[in-house]
């Protein structure tokens, strides 16, 4: 798109784009601003300049033990991602480098499990969790989120692995590389970027998953999604406190997201849009 554009037109487009972008971002921005206000300030009407107090952040930690749900989120999101990768990497590998006639069908079937609405299996999963004592445990939720995201992880890895040229393997073999050396020195370096972006996307998805995390936890294993949802019950006017808790809950994943936005398109469309 190397068209000559007059400076004035560019300025016009820029202003329009920035206005739209700021409007879309505004709720997040306003939450961050409000988190730095005092409670009376927070409900005193529209005001973009806070008094920069960190009181609300301190209160969220001291009154609600914010650190516990935060650690639960970290353990569950990272744990389920690593678990999914351990199972998915070999599978995606086999699909990409040793395809059979049925590979495409199997992959489509895996994708179709992702289409199953969570609520359809709410009853059995809830009962199983109750009976086996998995209710409100980190391990139960970790396994659950691993299962939910496994199809996406396999698919994403598959689309990345498929782009590794097979000739390179042949060349390595001609040079006398053993299977182990082949994997360690030729394939792994080429596969790592794909694995890394799959991991980031999956951590985002697991961090924000808000059906099972709310259904299958009460207090002990409750991650941030369930913790924040508990703020919906009326407990007075704690705008600044809610803002502080919200800011803390979304900040880490917002930053991860900014870094992985390019892979996001590919991952969430199962490679249909690149």
């Amino acid at each position: 798109m190397a068209r000559a554009v007059s400076a004035r037109r560019k300025a016009g487009y820029s202003v329009a784009a920035w206005v739209v972008a700021l409007l879309i971002f505004f709720p997040i921005l306003y939450t961050i601003i409000t988190s730095l206000k005092t409670e009376p300030e927070a409900i005193a009407g529209f005001n973009l300049v806070p008094s920069f107090t960190f009181e609300s952040y301190r209160t969220v930690q001291s009154q609600n033990d914010y650190f516990r749900p935060f650690m639960n989120s970290v353990v569950i999101a990272v744990g389920s991602t690593i678990l999914a990768l351990i199972i998915a990497i070999p599978a995606a590998w086999a699909f990409a480098f040793s395809p059979t006639k049925r590979t495409k069908d199997v992959l489509m079937w895996m994708l179709s499990t992702k289409m199953m609405p969570a609520v359809a299996v709410l009853v059995p999963i809830y009962l199983i969790f109750l009976r086996t004592g998995l209710m409100d445990t980190r391990i139960g939720l970790t396994v659950m989120l691993m299962l939910i995201n496994l199809p996406i992880v396999v698919w994403m890895l598959y689309t990345y692995f498929r782009e590794i040229p097979g000739e390179i393997l042949e060349a390595a073999r001609m040079d006398g590389a053993s299977l182990w050396n082949e994997i360690l020195y030729v394939l792994t370096p080429m596969a790592l970027p794909g694995i890394a972006s799959t991991m980031l996307l999956n951590i985002i998805l697991a961090w924000n998953e808000s059906f099972w995390t709310i259904q299958l936890t009460t207090t002990n294993a409750a991650p941030l999604t369930a913790f924040i949802a508990s703020f919906s019950s009326p407990q007075g006017l704690f705008w600044a406190k809610l803002s502080a808790a919200s800011t803390l809950a979304i900040a880490p994943i917002l930053i991860v997201g900014w870094f992985s936005q390019k892979q996001l398109v590919r991952g969430l469309t199962f490679g249909a849009v690149k």
Binding site: W18, A94, F97, M108, V123, L127, I253, L254
Partner: protein, 289 residues
């Protein structure tokens, strides 16, 4: 590299993932199907008995069921219209030569990373609250009566929140598609005197058709499952005004302890989702060849 040995190895490598997903698919769904034919209430599990089609009859003839299906469709369609139309417009805008394109992109994509309960509570309290929200402040500034969004327009309010969450997704994917458009073609059309409208209709839209399809189908899968946004804002009310199918089933299972009824509701959720999935699979499947 398809020697006998590697093929055997490949089978072993595939097995765990396939096995896990097979169990994950068959066991809970089978249980749901089984429960849907039982009179089974968690408050009184000793009274469990065979119910035949009773749960289905009971669940599907409930007026709340019809309303929840309607709400589900309105929610999905409303969000789709806002995000696709808005997404195309914003993608076209960002694709223009602008200052600070990278930052604009980051600002626009951000809401997608906000977890649903946070998104819903931010909107409920900071933006749409009739007393202290920004909308109310704006209304007061213009001397108008603030709107009590969640009491007066519960479903619309939820549509707005969910649309805000998904607008970035649509924009990002449509922008990616737009950026692969052939610049020379556009230039040629422009030289031949094609105005923006005809370029949009005959060049840009056909080019984006596939991406738009993907956006619609993937969003539909997720939008059929909207739950947390309703839980923290309206709790499905007033009455059933903002209860979708997911929320109705959740209510039956977790608040009424009606396992049989919730299972029967779950089965129709599966049918609904499969209907959508069928089309998504075809769109994605084409890409494999």
């Amino acid at each position: 590299m398809a020697t006998q040995e590697t093929r055997k190895l490949a089978r072993v490598m595939r097995a765990p993932a396939i096995f896990l997903l097979l169990i994950w698919m068959i066991v809970p769904l089978g249980m749901t199907l089984y429960f849907s034919f039982l009179n089974y209430n968690l408050l009184n599990p000793a009274m469990t008995s065979w119910a035949g089609w009773f749960n289905y009859q009971y669940f599907y003839t409930d007026p709340a069921f019809i309303q929840s299906i309607w709400n589900t469709l309105v929610l999905v369609l409303g969000v789709l219209v806002i995000t696709v139309v808005g997404g195309v417009a914003i993608a076209l805008l960002i694709d223009q030569p602008i200052f600070g394109q990278g930052v604009v992109r980051i600002l626009v994509i951000s809401p997608f990373f906000v977890m649903p309960p946070v998104a819903a509570l931010i909107w409920k309290n900071m933006i749409m609250h009739p007393g202290y929200g920004v909308f109310a402040d704006v209304a007061k500034f213009f001397g108008m009566q603030p709107v009590d969004w969640f009491a007066q327009y519960p479903l619309l309010s939820i549509i707005l929140i969910v649309a805000w969450q998904w607008l970035p997704f649509a924009t990002l994917i449509l922008l990616t598609a737009l950026q692969s458009l052939d610049g020379e073609q556009m230039e040629a059309a422009e030289m031949d005197g094609a105005g923006f409208v005809s370029r949009f209709v005959y060049l840009i839209l056909p080019h984006m058709a596939r991406a738009i399809t993907v956006v619609i189908l993937i969003q539909t899968i997720f939008l059929l499952g909207v739950y947390a946004e309703i839980l923290v804002t309206t709790n499905g009310g007033p009455g059933y005004a903002s209860t979708n199918l997911v929320f109705l089933i959740y209510r039956a299972a977790r608040l009424n302890f009606d396992i049989g009824g919730a299972a029967a509701g779950g089965i129709i959720a599966v049918v609904l989702a499969n209907f959508v999935a069928f089309f998504l699979m075809r769109a994605v499947g084409k890409n494999l060849d």
